[in-house]
Subunit: 563 residues, 2 copies
Amino acid sequence: MSTELPSDPEESPPAPRPAPREVWKKGGRLLSVLLAVNVLLLACTLISGGAFNKVAVYDTDVFALLTTMLLLALLWILFYLLGTARCPGGVPYRDAHAGPIWLRGGLVLFGICTLVMDVFKTGYYSSFLECQSAIKILYPLTQAVFVIVQTYFLWVSAKDCVHTHLDLTRCGLMFTLTTNLAIWMAAVVDESLHQAHSHSSSHSNTSHTRLALDLERASSAVGGECSCDTAVCQIFQQGYFYLYPFNIEYSLFASTMLYVMWKNVGRLLASSTHGHSHAPSPLSLFRETFFAGPVLGLMLFVVGLAVFIIYEVQVSGERGRTQQALVIYYSFNIVCLGLMTLVSLSGSVIYRFDRRAMDQHKNPTRTLDVALLMGAALGQYAISYYSIVAVVAGTPRDLLAALNLAHALLMIAQHTFQNVFIIESLHRGPPGAEPHNTAPKEPCHGLTFANLDALHTLPACPPTPRLVGPSPAGPQEASSVIVAPRSHWRRRCLKDISLFLLLCNIILWIMPAFGARPHFSNTVEVDFYGYSLWAAIVNICLPFGIFYRMHAVSSLLEVYVMS
Amino acid sequence: MSTELPSDPEESPPAPRPAPREVWKKGGRLLSVLLAVNVLLLACTLISGGAFNKVAVYDTDVFALLTTMLLLALLWILFYLLGTARCPGGVPYRDAHAGPIWLRGGLVLFGICTLVMDVFKTGYYSSFLECQSAIKILYPLTQAVFVIVQTYFLWVSAKDCVHTHLDLTRCGLMFTLTTNLAIWMAAVVDESLHQAHSHSSSHSNTSHTRLALDLERASSAVGGECSCDTAVCQIFQQGYFYLYPFNIEYSLFASTMLYVMWKNVGRLLASSTHGHSHAPSPLSLFRETFFAGPVLGLMLFVVGLAVFIIYEVQVSGERGRTQQALVIYYSFNIVCLGLMTLVSLSGSVIYRFDRRAMDQHKNPTRTLDVALLMGAALGQYAISYYSIVAVVAGTPRDLLAALNLAHALLMIAQHTFQNVFIIESLHRGPPGAEPHNTAPKEPCHGLTFANLDALHTLPACPPTPRLVGPSPAGPQEASSVIVAPRSHWRRRCLKDISLFLLLCNIILWIMPAFGARPHFSNTVEVDFYGYSLWAAIVNICLPFGIFYRMHAVSSLLEVYVMS
């Protein structure tokens, strides 16, 4: 949610007299940030107002605003694709770090899920067309068109460093970014209301009935006097709530890519070939690991899926089984988080012996990645600290409280050490960047040879150095054969570590994203803070926690490819 | 509240191979940021938990945590002053931009007020010593010692670029920063409770009595079974609540200075004399204006004070007079904000004709200043947008609603244009940096002469060019006498503008800081959002708004001196 400020004077090359264009860079940035802040605050006001049903802001107002924003952003994207991008000299440079393939791939994947969600939503609202405002059907349709156009736009233009229509492009990018964030906020609010609604229907005998009923009224107000009682309508309704996580991720993915494009507007790159990340051939991807990481990760993934299904089945049953489900859930999470903490720590230890140079080049994508990792972790940190205070100060000291405490503490440790590992990894150069202080300058990268004579007996620059097969080996060659894998051993370990962490992050993403809420099944925090306060804390912080997992997965994929 | 991330690769000089120290800079930063985030979240959890009296966190827990943090920070400061700073080569560079005199002066001023507050607090809690926990008296005493030591430390060391004990210094600075932020949070929460308490006592006939009574119980819980009924105790209690704004500002001032010190740890400066801001002689300070700015500003200041006093007196009376007080308050604010908007705009227009080069040097102080201006403005933006939605969607369309709407719109405009003006000003170089493209390179700065011959007849480099007195003037000299003030006219205007804005910001700071809350006297928003939601919005956002005014004043002072 932090608006980046147009305030870093390091942007400009440290030339004695920068060109006047640099002045305008700042002015344009300031202008577009101000535009974005104002639009975003207006959207935020309306969306949060619409969420409280005591407040006389109707959801049709929110839908109208969002539809208008979508249409305006659509207009600008079309202008960019047809006008700015086709200008001669409009896009002289392309930032090789921006829009990597997994980010664009994820965008397309989530975009498709969002389209399915839009179909479900349209179907749901069409079921009672006669007693609905037309804007409620118009909104998912507009969103579908927007998603298609924006995904194409980002796929094609994510790497662009635009140099024409500077101010217009900055404002357009910021406005599109704001639109995505507004959609994200609306989805988070909608999902929270739905969550509170399902909480109230399962716990309607508790004291929170009043608030829960309020929320129920709010979320069922979409029906007005008509109710959703046909089977098709029910399926549509259930379906679109399950697809919300994808819509949320889509908006965040698009936002990060738009932000990087915004940072790159008017940027001068030394040469367009600078910093091409080396693309490994897909065949060699899995040969470079010890298989321990992926195997262990996959095992945890499968066990985690089973635990998640057991949890979801049992928690909707009676009270005793909820208790049991929570014990299973927490135990699995404690094991998983403990292993991840240890593995991240060992990764950091390996880096202490790594001699690759730190990459100090300017790289807005990486800067943003690091900022997002640190910022998104705050959500889970906050939930954990509130849990710790509740457990330590609260009265019941049973098994569940102990598990909850261990879970919260490990969550903090895991986020911390994983962030340290990922950030350190992202700042390492590619394997070729290892400084050859002692070894002679050789085109064969990534190897330090103990025996210099042995160098010439090796095949010329093997793409992935490995044990040389059955060849006549003298005593000189033997030494190189022994020493070369020792350096390689580190890289393999790092690849194993990143794959293991990646798989663990996926399963830890699936659980909350598809509706596991031990925060509410477990009564410790609800009793300590009261339902409304605790719901506010969880509903604000958990989306960041979920986003953290997604983002960690994409960063770990980058670490895996780069190490 | 944004934790700065250790992610800007622009830090390092663009040398082909930076020294290994640069690697450690990032590691140390990451470590200290993680420490700060964790401590801050723990403090945040306890403080927010303590604020809700349904939650079983007692204020003694909060006081114990804060006292521990104060003592630890104190220990580190003493270690720094006696150890690190005295190391040979420990502080090789000093950042000339950091800790300018007005910031340090403000720190001392607010520090003294905080000390007075601590005396009042100690007196208040001593009044019922027998039925209080000892920690409640220990806390203000520890705070007083901390304020004295920290103020001395920042006065002496604000400009230091430390180069020994790097990691320890970073962690120490971040921990001290966190301590200040925790004190700030505790003060804001305490003040909000007090505000809600006084609201409840003046509006106890409304429907919000339940919540208000809850809050009253919470804030009067400090007394336990003892009550504060002696005259001295009452004075102490009233006094320390009036001094809270100063404590809040002290913590924020100290935080910004600590942050700049943290950014400067391990920084290499080209030379220690680089960037010395030119210090104008105090005598010439006021001669360089047209007096229109300061005079108009002072008039508004005096009128504002009168309006504030009338408002405070009338609003505590019956309902009809509250209405009248609000009309006066809003009218004054609308006039003041309108004038400020126009003046900021004209300042920006003047810059369009200014030919001074933009200063593109790296300057953490300025980067932070800009970020704080933009970030703190968000608080007032948010309040304004919520007001606008309430007024537009709400039912009553009377004079007060119209005034409220105009006030909110002008508030947004004023913050926007003032920020644009200040940010543009801060990025201008000092007057000497004007590029002499057409004029010959002369040591006499800031002047462009139409008649080159006239140059030699002027006295050598006058410190402030002015009309030459009764001296025998030929036709050549006359032209220089006419043209020289034309260039000077812009600088005078800018000085007038900054002084005017400065005085207006002071009066707009005084009003909310000393308790004017039209947000609650005016019933539009309270009725629209409900008391608790609106109180949450205002109590979270208004401290940022108040800080914005303070910060704008210090930035405008810098603009005044530099232009």
